[in-house]
């Protein structure tokens, strides 16, 4: 029932609601607009580590889901807490395909639930340009013995702008320190192709072809071909390097005409017309796990995979090649990649960085952790725990060399490494390469067209940097 005297006031709540709604929209808009910062650049970390908190603190990492992530969490909680008992280490993981997005969407929100993002070396440019990670140049000068490392390893996981392959620019800024070194290893069946690994790429292809012909049901080769992450792109880049090709000319930022030159075309031809026919039917979407599964099930004569992901191959529970580690090692061999016109191998692995959006206490703890982690004895312990260190003394230590049959492969590969571009446009460049190489490997494009398309599209991405409207298509 209504009372006449209130009729005149009926519109007031309605007006108030409208006003409140409008105010909320304006407030939200202002809040959303306020997030941007002009001319973002990486903020500087202090040269000396600030005073650390005595209160309980959780130091959070973000990485993708794979065995080294669990190894790091276990190792850090066992060892770092001896020095800092109030600290708990948490390594949060996401599926590999979401790794970049999981980190950079939080960077975009200017709020992170991690303190130490573990970035692929190629992500550094994007993070630095957007001011997402701390500039630790002064911190490194004060706290890290830079002479203890192969200069290129230190540069690859921290320097921006990118270093020339094999070198480090001592005047360039550093934004990270190595966490886990990695490269590809050639995994070969000693019982099928002999104890001596092929030395050249041509020999490797011939050995794989013969092995496939001699052993029905076993494919000659297994390697990454998927169009997610950087799978197919790393495969092509590896062959490109071995056949003397270049990914780009960093000084002139030129890709067109460099990537698809004669050496690049030859590499694509070898990959699609000589290597692909030796792979299993339907392997066009294989990545790390699928290649490991093929090796563990005895379905591949020669395979290529990241060293850090190869530990499971020696687990008898996951393998049909033997009931003990020794029995498996009697059939599997691990070697550095064969050379051809050059001996280049892909640089893998990741570095540690400090989120610009963490609290000061957590940033201080992150810096302390990084200093602790780079000590000689800790690097050796990390090697013994299954990690791949970067300090030269740790790489040459028995703790590392005896920890796995592929560790010597890594140590021997360090001087041969080459990385991709670490420019801010990396995510788009690698997507273009992945999709086109995947298309060529699966018959959706001819090798020549695929390579020319990569060069053309990547060049367009580099050339359109900074242009307005329609970017990203």
């Amino acid at each position: 029932m209504r009372y006449p005297k209130r009729i005149g006031r009926l519109s007031v709540p309605g007006r108030k609601v409208q006003l409140a709604t409008a105010a909320m929209l304006v407030a939200t808009t202002v809040a959303a607009c306020g997030g941007g910062q002009d001319g973002a650049s990486a903020p500087k970390a202090p040269a000396t580590i600030p005073e650390l908190t005595k209160d309980p603190l959780t130091l959070s990492f973000i990485w993708f889901e794979w065995p080294p992530a669990q190894a790091l969490e276990a190792f850090a909680n066992a060892e770092y807490t001896k020095e800092r008992p109030n600290v708990t280490i948490k390594v949060n993981t996401v599926p590999n395909a979401n790794w970049h997005d999981a980190i950079f969407t939080q960077f975009a929100a200017h709020k992170t639930d991690f303190d130490i993002p573990i970035l692929d070396s190629q992500h550094i440019g994007e993070a630095v340009t957007n001011g997402n990670i701390l500039d630790i140049t002064d911190f490194v000068k004060q706290n890290i013995d830079v002479n203890a490392y192969n200069p290129y390893l230190l540069a690859a996981y921290g320097q921006f702008p990118q270093a020339e392959t094999g070198k480090r620019d001592e005047n360039a800024s550093l934004y990270g320190l190595p966490l886990l070194g990695d490269t590809w290893t050639m995994i070969y069946r000693k019982d099928l192709i002999g104890d001596k690994p092929p030395q050249t790429w041509d020999e490797m292809i011939a050995a794989a072809a013969k092995c496939q012909a001699d052993n029905p049901g076993v494919s000659g080769l297994a390697f990454h071909q998927a169009n997610g992450s950087d799978a197919a792109a790393v495969t092509y880049n590896t062959v490109n390097g071995v056949y003397g090709g270049n990914l780009w000319d960093p000084k002139s930022r030129k890709i067109e005409g460099v990537l698809n030159d004669a050496a690049g075309q030859e590499a694509m031809d070898v990959l699609v017309n000589k290597m692909k026919p030796l792979t299993a039917t339907g392997s066009g979407n294989w990545f790390i796990d699928e290649v490991n599964a093929a090796v563990a099930q005895g379905k591949a004569c020669i395979a290529f995979n990241w060293i850090a992901a190869s530990g499971g191959l020696l687990d008898p529970k996951q393998s049909t090649l033997g009931t003990t580690r020794e029995e498996i090692l009697g059939k599997l061999g691990f070697a550095t990649l064969p050379s051809q016109k050059t001996n280049l191998v892909p640089l893998g692995g990741m570095g540690m960085h400090v989120s610009a959006y963490s609290s000061e206490a957590n940033q201080a703890e992150a810096l302390n952790f990084m200093k602790w982690f780079q000590q000689a004895d800790i690097q050796k312990k990390w090697a013994a725990a299954g990690g791949v260190p970067s300090r030269t003394d740790a790489l040459e230590s028995p703790e590392f060399l005896n920890a796995g049959p592929f560790n010597k492969v890594y140590a021997d590969s360090v001087p041969r490494m080459r990385d991709m571009w670490n420019v801010p446009e990396y995510a788009r460049l690698v997507d273009i390469e992945n999709t086109n190489v995947n298309a060529a490997l699966n018959g959706a494009k001819t090798p020549k067209d695929a390579l020319n398309d990569i060069a053309k599209e990547q060049q367009a991405v580099l050339d359109s940097s900074g242009s307005k409207g329609g970017g990203g298509l």
């Binding site: 609601v17 909320m24 941007g36 910062q37 339907g282 392997s283 409207g469 329609g470």
Partner: protein, 316 residues
Amino acid sequence: MSDPVPLTTDHPGQVASATPPEPGWSRRLSDRWLTVAFISPALLLLLAMSVFPLLWALYLSFTDYSATRGGSAHFVWFENYTAILTSAQVHLRAFTTLIYVVGAVTLQTVLGFTIAYLISRRTHGRGLLTTLFLVPMMLSPVVVGLFWRFMLDAQFGVINSMLGSIGLGQVEWLTRQQTALISLIVVDTWQWTPFIMLIALAGLTAVPKYLYEAASIDRASEWFRFRTITLPLVWPLLLIAVLFRAIEAFRLFELVYILTSGGPGVSTETLSFHVYKVAFLGFNTGTASAYGILMVLIVIVLTQLYLRYLNKLKED
């Protein structure tokens, strides 16, 4: 504070008193205020979660804003829209999406209606059959994608194993241009045919029985009854189901992401998957916003045309 209002009167037959309520807080609780109070939470949620993001995306679509690069957004007016509408890459994804939507929705409609028709003719076990058929629809698309990925694996998948046992060779379901899109259509059909079936079943159950009885008396054939009674009465409901499915299929993302990642190459990249890449690989937020707005506009325009056709059908 006023006394509590008694729930009963001393005199049951007496009509409730028309005396105004006591002055105090209850005086403000008019019908109007109550309405506002009850609607506000939902309204605020709608404004915050739907209206504002849509308006904000509309604003961003006219700028060169990037969520990660920071800096203020500069107006580029219609440049993002022009670039999208003239991009060969977008045209390719639009064509892929069109093939997918037409293929999946047609297959689902035919199968869904057929299953519903067969179920509707049963007198026993209809409920159990309907429930069993609905199971795929209740699963998460990510889960569906993952187990179909295993089933369609060329090396160890159960599908190829079955084909092998009858002497057929291995099919590369997810890694060949000719089969990858078909695989997506098949998986989507497996999951969403029950939706069409459910709607069609509701329509079939609602057809008055006396029409069939009259047709039987006139000795009308089964086909004649289907063509002149069943189909015309179920058709409008079926078209609504088709509309829902077409909108859903138009924004397909999960299955592509899990099953093919858009491959081989970009041959199964749909518009939604492409928007995702534009938005999160390059973080071109302005372009991605314009892309999203255009997709919404396309759905709205097509839906309007479709609804007009549906209304005309009903009037006829």
